[in-house]
């Protein structure tokens, strides 16, 4: 691998802000190409393995048996406490909302779920990994919502393969046009109830498919993965505590170790980046200003290229705060896109059911993923109720002791009944696309700052009619699917929820064809500042309905390769 010459007048060749899903990839790609790379993260340092303090512990080994004090949750974790993965085992990996405030505007609510450590939300994610399809990259152009994506599926296809082979994605090839296959390791198995439900549903609705979830877990680790100290998933499904086996993909298990072993990475934790500095004379970003959150020291670090990967809203926050005479409203901001078109998925609607029979079926292990029903609305089945669509996650499990909560019964008989595997049950829950709308935006507070002097981020975001109709349909259709499967006691649900809680926030620095409609070009490069890149969810021009992180990874690796070419050819 070619080693580039010493940074010269710069502290580093490359600065990567954020070490999560996206930043980890940029760090790996740039370090492997020989660039001296500084990775700055607000989070605390974690040693992969040694610092996963609750890994493998039984509930009895923690004071709260897994439960966080409700008072503490209300006081310190106003938003984070609403995340399904937040508990006593995982608490340390979530940010303490109280120490990192933000505000909302216009009477709206946003449940921003953030991480607390190096590795970002890659430590916390649920690992569902799906490619976007040509349909998704064409959607804005065809129905006129949002600007046209500057890239198509073919631009990203090989990059998907590239990141999949490194990350390790388990799943089965299905040949579906709306959900292109990945480069897979073998899928997890369906249990009998799921196999039968799949058959019934696919017979009743030929346009709908029930497939095994595709997830970033190693089921057939490659030499490359083994060399990084990763091993096969053990089906503990306690991933968010951290997995020292590296059974699932995270920055800590995969990309950062790969970057680190090149000797080119300097990882700086507890570093709150406040702004990207712009030089008007050269029209380039010169580096970043950061605060050491422990000492309070303020530091300027320079580099030839800056990648901002601080998670969608973290990125918008930094860019808006990067004010100069040339760009009084944020570096590269033309007033059209930066901070606008914030999106999340619409979630919180589906159905549950009970299942008779299958008493002689059970399973061992805790499968770390579920089933997936790829989008069929406006694909194989048209509707005039809304545009775009949604997918479902779901699974069949057997009840255990917690289903005795709220049930009548005392004594030996009651206890002996709980001891045995309970009835089968099923859940289905949807994730729907959210349209990009200019009014869903973030800005900086004019009056309030955080403990380190950064203006607070103000969020103004709400679901609209299309999302609400999608949500209605997710509930009704989930009921219909479970009926088709022949289940009983089917209960639809449609919970009140606000953007943020699907934890798929995207937009605010979107890609597009020109500075008139977007912030980034088709290479994740700022239209107006050539050496500034954004490769996290902020870059997304639309959300599609798939879990998005795999796309962030592919965009990150692709943009890094492009930056490398530009650096080598002397353009940057």
């Amino acid at each position: 691998m070619k080693t580039v010459q010493k940074p010269g007048n710069y502290d580093f060749d490359v600065i990567v802000v954020g070490s999560g899903m996206s930043g980890g990839w940029v760090a790996k790609e740039m370090c492997e190409r020989g660039y001296k790379t500084a990775v700055l993260d607000r989070g605390e340092a974690l040693e992969h393995g040694a610092d996963y303090k609750t890994e493998g512990k039984g509930p009895w080994e923690l004071p709260g048996r897994g439960n966080v004090s409700k008072q503490e949750a209300l006081q310190d974790y106003e938003h984070v406490r609403l995340c399904y993965a937040f508990d006593e085992f995982t608490k340390r990996h979530f940010i303490k909302d109280r120490d990192h405030p933000f505000t909302v505007k216009d009477g709206k609510r946003f449940d921003w779920i953030r991480s607390s450590s190096v590795g970002g939300k890659s430590l916390l994610w649920h690992r569902h990994s799906y490619r976007l399809s040509e349909m998704d990259f064409m959607a804005n152009k065809l129905d006129g919502h949002g600007c046209d994506w500057p890239i198509r599926y073919d631009d990203l296809k090989d990059w998907y393969s590239y990141v999949e082979r490194f990350a390790g994605i388990s799943g089965a090839a299905e040949g579906l046009p709306q959900l292109p296959d990945s480069d897979f390791q073998k899928p997890f198995e369906m249990n009998q109830v799921e196999k039968d439900a799949k058959a019934s549903i696919e017979t009743a609705f030929p346009g709908r498919k029930v497939i095994m979830g595709r997830c970033a877990h190693l089921t057939e680790p490659t030499e490359e993965q083994l060399d990084l100290g990763r091993g096969p998933c053990q089906a503990r499904n306690e991933c968010q505590r951290g997995c020292s086996w590296g059974g699932y993909f995270s920055s800590l298990s995969a990309t950062l170790p790969a970057a680190d072993r090149t000797g080119n990475m300097t990882l700086i934790p507890n570093a709150q980046v406040q702004e990207v500095v712009y030089d008007e004379a050269t029209r380039r970003a010169t580096g970043v200003r950061m605060v050491d959150m422990v000492s309070g020291d303020r530091v300027f670090i320079s580099a030839r290229v800056v990648f901002v990967c601080a998670s969608t809203l973290g990125t918008a926050h930094i860019l808006l705060n990067s004010r100069s005479t040339a760009f009084p409203n944020g570096i590269g901001n033309t007033g059209h896109a930066l901070g606008h078109y914030l999106m999340d998925h619409v979630s919180g609607a589906g159905a549950t059911a009970m299942i008779d029979g299958y008493e002689d079926h059970y399973y061992s292990g805790r499968r770390p993923t579920s089933l997936y029903i790829p989008r069929f609305r406006n694909v194989t089945e048209q509707t005039d109720k809304f545009i775009r669509g949604y997918g479902f996650q779901g699974e069949a499990t057997r009840a255990s002791w917690n289903s005795a909560i709220g049930a009548k019964g005392v004594g030996k008989e009651f206890k002996n009944k709980i001891q045995l595997q309970g009835p089968w049950r099923f859940w289905l829950t949807g994730f729907g696309e959210m349209l990009p709308r200019h009014e869903n935006h973030v800005s900086l507070s004019a009056t309030e700052t955080d403990a380190w002097g950064m203006p607070l981020l103000e969020i103004s975001c709400a679901y609209g009619d299309n999302e609400n109709r999608i949500k209605d349909d997710m509930q009704q259709t989930a009921i219909e699917l479970l009926q088709a499967a022949g289940f009983r006691d089917i209960q639809g649900f449609r919970r009140e929820s606000y953007p943020g809680i699907a934890i798929h926030e995207m937009g605010t620095a979107r890609m597009g064809h020109s500075p008139e409609d977007s912030y980034l070009n088709g290479k994740n490069q700022c239209h107006l500042v050539d050496n500034l890149f954004v490769t996290d969810g902020a870059a997304m021009t639309s959300t599609a309905c798939q879990n998005p992180s795999l796309t962030f990874m592919a965009l990150s690796a692709r943009a890094a390769a492009y930056a490398d070419e530009q650096l080598k050819s002397g353009v940057l």
Binding site: K70, G229, Y362, S364, W401, G411, Q419, Q421
Partner: protein
């Protein structure tokens, strides 16, 4: 400037990827359960298993007499409240071929929950309800176990529509279940627990098998 970076670099460079590739190969398929059961739980558990026919009340007494400082370690409950809860808890989940609720320390867990987990208003409501219960059943603690059981059974029958003043029972029952099945005995002896399953494997079986604890 360079000094600043050097400082970061040696103070806080994160060690990553040091889990060597043999680590998991060595562990693969190996099933180790942390055997560090709290000694007191073992003693009580063993006493129960050895056929010491400990009545709920006497188990409570054992808990009370154990470790001298036990009283002081209750954060919220008085001795009497603790004993009342212990009797009710052991009626809900009695000793079978495994210890009952008291045998695994459920009352202490409830004390912890009232002190730390629940909101202050929930704790007050719970304690008020428990007080009502004690007033309405003034001789509950000294009654014969059959009588105690009748009282609890009839309350449990009304679980979904509890009499005013006794709504605390729903919370109590929930805490008993959580406290029991998240205890080491509850999870690993009464139910099945597998810290490292090694994979997901559907199977069929003629016999009923124990439910997974987690």
């Amino acid at each position: 400037m360079q000094n600043h970076i050097a400082k970061f670099a040696d103070n806080s460079k994160v060690k990553i990827g040091k889990c060597n590739r043999f680590h998991f190969r060595f562990q693969m398929g190996r099933k180790t359960i942390n055997q560090g059961i709290d000694r007191r739980q073992i003693l009580i558990g063993v006493a129960v298993l050895m056929g010491g026919s400990l009545l709920p009340g006497s188990v409570a007494a054992l808990e009370n007499s154990d470790a001298g400082a036990r009283d002081a370690s209750f954060s919220v409950l008085t001795k009497k409240q603790f004993r009342t809860l212990s009797v009710i808890a052991d009626i809900i989940l009695p000793e079978t071929d495994t210890p009952g609720a008291v045998g695994v320390g459920v009352p202490s867990f409830i004390d912890w929950a009232l002190d730390t987990w629940l909101l202050p208003e929930e704790t007050s409501a719970f304690l008020a309800g428990l007080e009502n219960f004690s007033q309405q059943n003034a001789r509950f603690l000294t009654a014969k176990s059959a009588v105690q059981e009748t009282v609890v059974r009839s309350l449990d029958q009304q679980l979904h529509d509890l009499p005013t003043g006794l709504e605390f029972y729903r919370q109590l029952k929930e805490l008993v279940l959580i406290g029991y099945y998240t205890s080491e005995i509850g999870a690993t002896l009464e139910l099945a627990y597998d810290p490292i399953p090694g994979g997901y494997q559907p199977f069929t079986t003629e016999n009923s098998v124990k439910a997974w604890a987690t």
